[in-house]
């Protein structure tokens, strides 16, 4: 697992996708932070609230190649014939992807420090913000990981994951157009946005934490099942 994690992490920076991801993340979060500063607000809520869309749009870049590239280059033969379990292969790759996300999110600590220099921000709230975004990202990465195990093409994996991201972004506004009460109830429950917004206001609710962790776990499990099933037909 450690070998796969290390290789995957190195590949992110060899192939530039990791670097580009981090650069774009810095650019947009820096932009929103600049706006926050110009309004003289000692809170990162606006930054994190706006980054919801950016993170969702960027993450397919990280997940698109995870399994599709292995399959296209037939390097999965090396992985699957090595004495390692499917679970550790999948988790190794997943950890590498969320590590890149984590590295990108470290910039938020710098923003916090800058705010502290000028005002008196609530650090607990900043930590809640970071936690929320990380959990959101981890869940989306798991979905992207699963999608990349379905196809040999990185492009198809990227576009499909982007489609899922768009659905996650738009589902709230779509649900508000529907009149049925139960639809909005269901959407409210599965909405990433509503749960994420709680975090940006500093609310760490256990159901939301568990929700994101469950989504991650389910899609990691599905990825393992998918890879195992491919050996059978």
């Amino acid at each position: 697992m450690l070998a796969i994690f290390r290789r995957e992490l190195k590949a992110y920076f060899n192939s530039m996708t990791g670097t580009i991801f981090i650069a774009v993340y810095y650019f947009f979060s820096g932009l929103y932070f600049f706006i926050t500063l110009s309004y003289q607000i000692a809170s990162l809520t606006t930054v994190f609230g706006s980054m919801f869309v950016i993170v969702l749009m960027l993450l397919p870049l990280l997940t698109m190649r995870l399994f599709s590239e292995e399959r296209r280059n037939k390097t999965d033969q090396a992985l699957l014939t090595a004495p390692v379990s499917l679970t550790s292969i999948v988790i190794g790759k997943y950890l590498a992807a969320i590590t890149v996300l984590f590295l990108a999110m470290l910039i938020n600590v710098v923003y916090g420090v800058v705010l502290t220099a000028f005002g008196n921000p609530d650090w607990l709230m900043i930590i809640a913000n970071i936690l929320g975004q990380f959990l959101l990202g981890a869940a989306v990465i798991a979905i992207g990981l699963f999608i990349s195990s379905l196809t040999e093409s990185q492009i198809i994996a990227a576009v499909s994951t982007l489609g899922v991201s768009l659905l996650i972004i738009l589902i709230d506004s779509a649900a508000s157009l529907v009149e049925y009460n139960w639809v909005s109830k269901v959407v409210e429950w599965i909405s990433f946005n509503i749960r994420y917004d709680d975090f940006t206001y500093g609310i760490v609710s256990i159901p939301s934490v568990l929700f994101f962790i469950s989504v991650s776990a389910i899609f990691i499990f599905l990825t393992i099942r998918k890879l195992d099933k491919r050996r059978w037909n």
Binding site: K10, N14, N73, K74, T75, Q77, P83, S85
Partner: protein, 344 residues
């Protein structure tokens, strides 16, 4: 070392491998032979645990590949048809990664260096794999299979893309590895199998149509069992002497090949081997034996005979026609292609 029992692989409705069984002992070098699409790679992929079988048991050194995959996989070094190389890594990084992935316990640097020397990739050790030629990539693939010094080596067409000198190198390497390793290698180049392997398993349309030593294969399948001898000496006396050998039924002179050298065709009772007696007779009479060979089939003949799809004399082939994974039209062409390889 390797036990395969009733192995079957079905892709949807198609049978790729149909109920094959064989056993390979420690230290054997076995060649898998068969036209493209015969099920060689599928079988190898199942042996290595990359694919699961639809039915049947595979045991590597007693460990079942399905129930004890990690123990079994540790014993195998596998070079797939396309070497599983990460082209964005250097050879060094790649072998390092594979070393970790395979959980090799041997001393890292010394072991990797030894393998690099063995397959002669030391001079490209620090280069990116994407910049390597096909031959070097193939050798990095072999190096990867050798990591951890596994008991069993499974090599799927190991010499594809190599130049003639490299082919000879790799073949002698495989032969050397045969001491102490069990090697399975697939190829459609017959001369290669003949040069390297002691035993041949011929697969066609997912079934084993032959499993024997090279020599026995050509002996048993040939209907024509004459011995051809070129002897320097008086032809009348030679004919008489050869005919007097016990067990020889008929000797015909095939004419003078060069000055005072005649070729003879010798037929024996029940295909028994009379080469020693012929040699002794020649020596006793102070003649010179310039050549002695069987008219038996060459491996090419055997291969074509066993794998041609319109051959109805072979019962296996008739049985397998139900699970035909091959496009029949392709088979003939591919067999011809393969025959072309040998001549080239």
């Amino acid at each position: 070392m390797i036990e395969v029992e009733n192995l079957t692989k079905r892709y949807g409705g198609k049978l790729a491998v149909n109920n094959i069984s064989f056993k390979i002992d420690e230290g054997e070098i076995v060649g898998f032979l068969g036209p493209n699409g015969a099920g060689k790679s599928t079988t190898m992929n199942m042996l290595t645990g990359y694919l699961s079988s639809t039915d049947g048991i595979i045991k590597i050194d007693g460990y079942d590949i399905l129930t004890n995959p990690n123990e079994a996989k540790t014993k195998i070094g596998y070079l797939p048809e396309q070497p599983p190389l990460y082209i964005d890594m250097t050879v060094e990084e790649y072998l390092d990664f594979m070393y970790d992935l395979k959980k090799v316990k041997l001393p890292r640097n010394a072991h990797i260096k030894e393998i690099c020397d063995m397959v002669k990739i030391t001079d490209v050790y620090h280069r990116m794999i994407r910049n390597l030629s096909k031959g070097y990539r193939q050798r990095v693939g072999i190096a990867q299979a050798l990591l951890g010094n596994p008991d069993v080596l499974i090599l799927d067409e190991p010499t594809v893309g190599l130049d003639p000198k490299q082919i000879i190198d790799i073949r002698s390497l495989i032969k050397r590895l045969g001491n102490g390793h069990t090697v399975i290698l697939s190829s459609h180049i017959l001369s290669e199998i003949q040069a390297v392997c002691e035993r041949i398993i011929i697969i066609n349309e997912g079934v084993i149509v032959a499993d024997d030593t090279t020599e026995n294969l050509s002996m048993n399948l040939s209907e024509d069992h004459r011995l051809l001898a070129q002897i320097e000496g008086n032809s009348v006396a030679v004919l008489e002497a050869l005919r007097s050998i016990d067990g020889v039924t008929n000797v015909i002179s095939l004419g003078e090949k060069s000055e005072n050298v005649y070729e003879y065709s010798i037929e024996t009772v029940d295909r028994c081997d009379k080469r020693r007696e012929v040699f002794k007779t020649v020596v006793d009479h102070n003649w010179v034996l310039l050549g002695l060979s069987y008219t038996g089939m060459t491996l090419e003949d055997v291969f074509l005979k066993l794998t041609s799809s319109n051959n109805t004399s072979n019962k296996h082939i008739i049985n397998s026609s139900i699970g035909n994974d091959l496009d029949n039209n392709d088979t003939d062409e591919e067999v011809k292609d393969n025959a072309g390889d040998i001549q080239a």
